[in-house]
Symmetry: C2
Subunit: 433 residues, 2 copies
């Protein structure tokens, strides 16, 4: 993509109302624009990242055996009255009446609606287990929306729902999703820490939350340092769930079950939450299945959420420096910034056009900064945007058949021939696909 044909409205200064670094950087890099309190438009760069994260979440859901559907944003209040949550949920539930006077709401979560879908079609243990997910916009009317997409009112969430015949099977589904979550966050380049959690307004008996490490995170976590190097492929979920981890107000130094030398303290951000709540909704909404004795029994359910739009902010909190964002290559909006320092110079333009075509033909997402503007603005904009590799073409280097290759993570540059730079980048980027 050529920068001059694209729409990346970067800003030089931090917006006054942005309190945390991810919010500041998303505004400054032209990723989002607030349209009203806690509600954002996703500009091209932000949307690219959001979609890459969404796709990684989707792939891991599919790998886990979950099936994708899409429930609507607007729901009738009827089912929520039946489940008891229409009263209980509080003011975060956005309620309104349609033109016919029917009570409706903008779904903050979908336990009721999915239970109704299940009970409409499934009535035998033979069709279990079933695990349905969707990735849809939700609305929670937060009293004080803030921190950009980290605590917005309209946000994108992946939520899924497991259906099993009994508690034993439901726990297999729960463990399966637990492992899928660890894999998802690792694929996003993050370090997940799982913690036993309260079940809160979803209800139920078993719950974990997932935090990812970020030095600017909101929570302080105490955990077994082995959690930082776990490979979910090689480890049983039960074992994985047994590692010690606690947020600060639940950590009791004197009764900590692990040795102090194995204990690590870091900041984290919550990005996912999973629940097993048994028959809480199936009983109220009549979602029964016949077991192999012909008896009708309420189905056992779990629900599982990942904040997809929140992850954009969380990843920035985890990966940035004082110049801007440092995207993990998996979710980067572009893998490479090709920076033409002298677009008016014939040789620079020729070389850049040639390099651009090479990467386009390799199917590598590349941002070609062909803008006529100051060198300083060009370099600082691309640092801010945070593409993993910057390929910088200047007039003087080019005389010696050299270009500059900068890795954004380390900000270390080296001079290479254009051919060497291409070969290195193509190899690096394809190895991470």
């Amino acid at each position: 993509m050529k920068f001059s044909n694209y729409f990346i409205p970067t800003l030089k200064n931090n917006p006054a109302d942005a309190e945390i670094v991810s919010h500041q950087l998303m505004i400054r890099a032209g990723m989002i624009k607030q349209s009203s309190a806690g509600i954002y438009s996703w500009l091209p760069l932000g949307l690219r990242v959001l979609k890459k994260i969404e796709e990684i979440v989707r792939q891991e859901q599919n790998n886990s055996g979950a099936i994708e559907i899409l429930m609507p944003t607007i729901q009738s209040a009827d089912l929520w009255v039946k489940s008891g949550r229409y009263e209980d949920y509080g003011k975060e539930l956005l309620r309104f009446k349609d033109r016919g006077g029917r009570e409706m709401l903008y779904g903050p979560t979908n336990e009721e609606l999915i239970t109704e879908i299940f009970q409409s079609y499934v009535n035998s243990y033979k069709d279990l287990p079933l695990n349905l997910y969707h990735i849809q916009w939700k609305f929670r009317d937060e009293l004080r929306p803030r921190f950009g997409v980290m605590r917005g009112r309209e946000f994108l969430m992946k939520d899924n729902y497991s259906f099993d015949l009994n508690e034993e099977d439901a726990k297999i589904s729960y463990n399966n999703m637990f492992t899928a979550y660890i894999k998802t966050f690792l694929k996003l380049g993050l370090t997940p820490i799982s913690l036993r959690a309260d079940t809160g307004p979803i209800g139920g008996n078993l719950s974990h939350e997932f935090q990812v490490l970020a030095s600017t995170g909101e929570s302080t976590l105490y955990y077994d340092k082995e959690l930082e190097s776990i490979n979910p492929e090689n480890i049983e979920p039960e074992k994985l769930q047994s590692y010690y981890a606690a947020v600060d107000d639940l950590h009791d130094k004197d009764n900590c079950p692990i040795d102090e030398k194995n204990l690590k303290i870091s900041k984290g951000i919550e990005v996912g939450h999973i629940f097993y709540f048994g028959t809480k909704y199936s009983e109220k909404l009549n979602a029964n299945v016949q077991n192999n004795n012909g008896e009708k029994i309420p189905v056992h359910m779990g629900s599982y959420g990942i904040g997809v739009s929140r992850l954009v902010g969380a990843i920035i909190e985890a990966f940035h420096d004082d110049k801007g964002i440092i995207w993990p290559i998996q979710v980067a909006p572009f893998k490479i910034s090709l920076i033409n320092l002298m677009p008016d110079d014939k040789n620079c333009k020729l070389e850049c056009d040639k390099l651009y075509e090479i990467f386009i033909n390799e199917n590598i997402d590349i941002l070609y900064d062909d803008r006529v503007c100051s060198i300083g603005k060009k370099l600082s904009d691309n640092d801010l945007i945070g593409t993993p590799y910057h390929l910088i073409v200047g007039k003087r280097d080019l005389i010696n058949n050299l270009v500059e290759l900068k890795e954004r993570k380390t900000n270390i540059s080296k001079k290479l021939t254009p051919e060497e730079a291409c070969n290195f980048l193509i190899k690096q980027i394809n190895s991470k696909k």
Copy 2:
């Protein structure tokens, strides 16, 4: 995908409340489920088709030079008060107050919001032309939602907005989008007919609507028969727009500008609408740009909409028979149904497993019907679902090393060796990629 691991809840009988064939077939094929009046959940099969259509629409938008963003579903009423539409729009606009008492709405369209985005960032003719699109759920609180996804309340729309310095440039953008629309509908396997149209509540001076031919369509169209075989690559938009076409109540037999032998009459369904409305919104919302004389002038705008979820219904209206849906291969949820008539037979299972793996390795979307159920149900379910090719494996044929290959469009079958069938299908399907 194995049918037994998937979730396609087919129904034998037509639902009582579905008036038109696409609505009936979508319910029966387990594509959608109504959750409240005019609001649907998309079940796995329906979602697959919706996403394929969305992706074709997206690709043609990208090819046209439009840039993707994503605006939120919920908007503040403020901008609509400024544009004058908060009063004008009528009861189809879903209005409500948030917990802080602020007036909000669920966007039925996005002229106001996009104009505000534009005016926040763009202020020079040098940044024009600009064309921004998004694909997002909309809500229109229809008095009588009906016809399934054809006239729902919550629906998926691609809408985009062009920004130009003056009327002349704006018409280039308009014509560019006109051609992109013709290409989009052709790529979906449909026959588009464009008609001059009233501008309605969007306002403005120039407008076309796009209908696609379907024998069960809602409108009767009179048009130059050449429109059925147009190639938009080879024809100027102005010429394309000059062909005669009119809906029945605007067609005047005695004053028709074309010869009766060139006139064709068919039924159609509206699937797109484009508008040039000049400075209507930019004046009210202060979206000005500096021209090359340094004067600030209001930007010229157009807006362009395609009903993405409506297209699912429209395609079914265009392509079905009394057995069910007949998907054009480009949007089919799966290209092939691999139907094992005897899943309990060892040889049938071995052969099917082998065939399944071949297509999976070829990266071809295939639905493997491995269910243990009656042969009649299997065949009729797959006819209903409407995958383009059915590869049917039965015990008796297999003794002679034969399988049955049925083309859903013609319902004509032939017996081939498994190898011949594979080669034919891989060639056919890859040629349409």
